[in-house]
């Protein structure tokens, strides 16, 4: 009896996993588009790639922009903030505005790329 249940479980779970992840995989590949085109990260200018887990020095490296300029755009000190993720900086300095840090940095990168001056629309920083 135990063997019968074991075989049933193997086949049943196998079928469920194949169906679920087969569908997901198909969906992902379709969404990706074909043929896949390798895009080196070193040459990217696409600001939609900025994520909450990134740090300011890493973003500065990715978009070849001085990191001091990014700290300046946010109006926060560089000291003690270099190793913090964007999410941590947002929670600490701009708790009332979810996603503000990412948007502001994207604007700063775009302004740098276009050689424009970033408008000073940063809200007042909350002192942690």
């Amino acid at each position: 009896m135990k063997g019968k249940i074991g075989v049933g479980l193997l086949i049943g779970s196998g079928l469920v996993i194949v169906a679920l992840f087969g569908f997901r995989l198909m969906h992902e590949v379709r969404r990706w588009g074909s043929p896949p085109r390798p895009q080196p990260l070193a040459t990217t200018t696409d600001v939609t790639l900025v994520r909450e887990w990134m740090t300011i020095p890493y973003i500065a490296h990715t978009y070849a922009i001085p990191d001091g300029m990014l700290f300046e755009a946010l109006g926060i000190p560089e000291k003690n903030n270099r190793k913090k993720s964007l999410q941590e900086i947002n929670d600490e300095y701009f708790p009332a505005q979810d996603g503000f840090v990412i948007t502001r940095l994207q604007d700063a990168i775009l302004a740098f790329q276009r050689r424009e001056t970033l408008p000073p629309n940063a809200p007042p920083v909350t002192t942690p």
Partner: protein, 206 residues
């Protein structure tokens, strides 16, 4: 994969580099859901940017994964006594041990980079079945090297698309696991039916 934990670890890898990457792969090899394959693909992309040295990251990552695998092998090895007492007389346990020994190298090698969800059970079974440690480490090192080259290489090649690539690779791994389970069930089914023939009910009087 725990998204918050893997994102936290990505931030730390960016901050502290190779040692943290080694810790990440070490934890992954012990079964902690840190998204080790995902991080490996990300690190491939970071090395392409010149943010890290690919050689240093590969070396530290490999070391972390190997130490983690050796530790999970040891857990299987030292838990052998308990498993022997509990299941030692069961024919299924004996058969499973024999079956594993015959195909151990394949199981160890391919679960490092193809069906990664089965890597931890394979380490535990290898340790518990009395498989030779040096041989385990040889196939383990080959498989982990393949994992680092393949997954890191994908991140390196696809750069800005590494998140999509990570998702596709993860789904593909799960799909393979499903196929392995299905295949095992289909192979074991007839064997089970052979060893348990249907009882014929004879009516009284016939």
């Amino acid at each position: 994969m725990s998204e918050t934990l893997s994102e936290f670890l990505l931030t730390q890898v960016i901050n502290y580099g190779a040692p943290l990457f080694a810790v990440n792969l070490f934890l992954g090899a012990l079964g902690v859901p840190v998204g080790a394959s995902f991080t490996l693909i990300a690190v491939g992309a970071f090395t392409q940017q010149g943010y890290f040295s690919w050689f240093e990251m590969a070396l530290f990552g490999l070391a972390g994964a190997l130490v983690g695998d050796a530790l999970s092998f040891s857990i299987g090895h030292f838990g052998k006594g308990w498993a022997q007492r509990r299941f030692g007389k069961s024919p299924a346990w004996i058969n499973a041990g024999d079956y594993f020994k015959r195909r151990a190298w394949m199981a160890i090698f391919f679960t490092r980079f193809l069906v990664t969800a089965l890597a931890i059970p394979t380490n535990l079974i290898a340790g518990g079945s009395g498989y030779k440690f040096s041989r385990f480490m040889l196939y383990d090192a080959l498989g982990e090297t393949m994992w680092i080259i393949l997954y890191g290489g994908l991140g390196y090649l696809f750069g800005s698309q590494w998140e999509t690539v990570g998702q596709i690779v993860s789904d593909f791994g799960w799909l393979l696991l499903g196929i392995v389970l299905l295949f095992a069930g289909i192979r074991l089914g007839p064997r089970w039916l052979k060893s348990h023939p249907r009882k014929k009910f004879i009516r009284a009087g016939n």
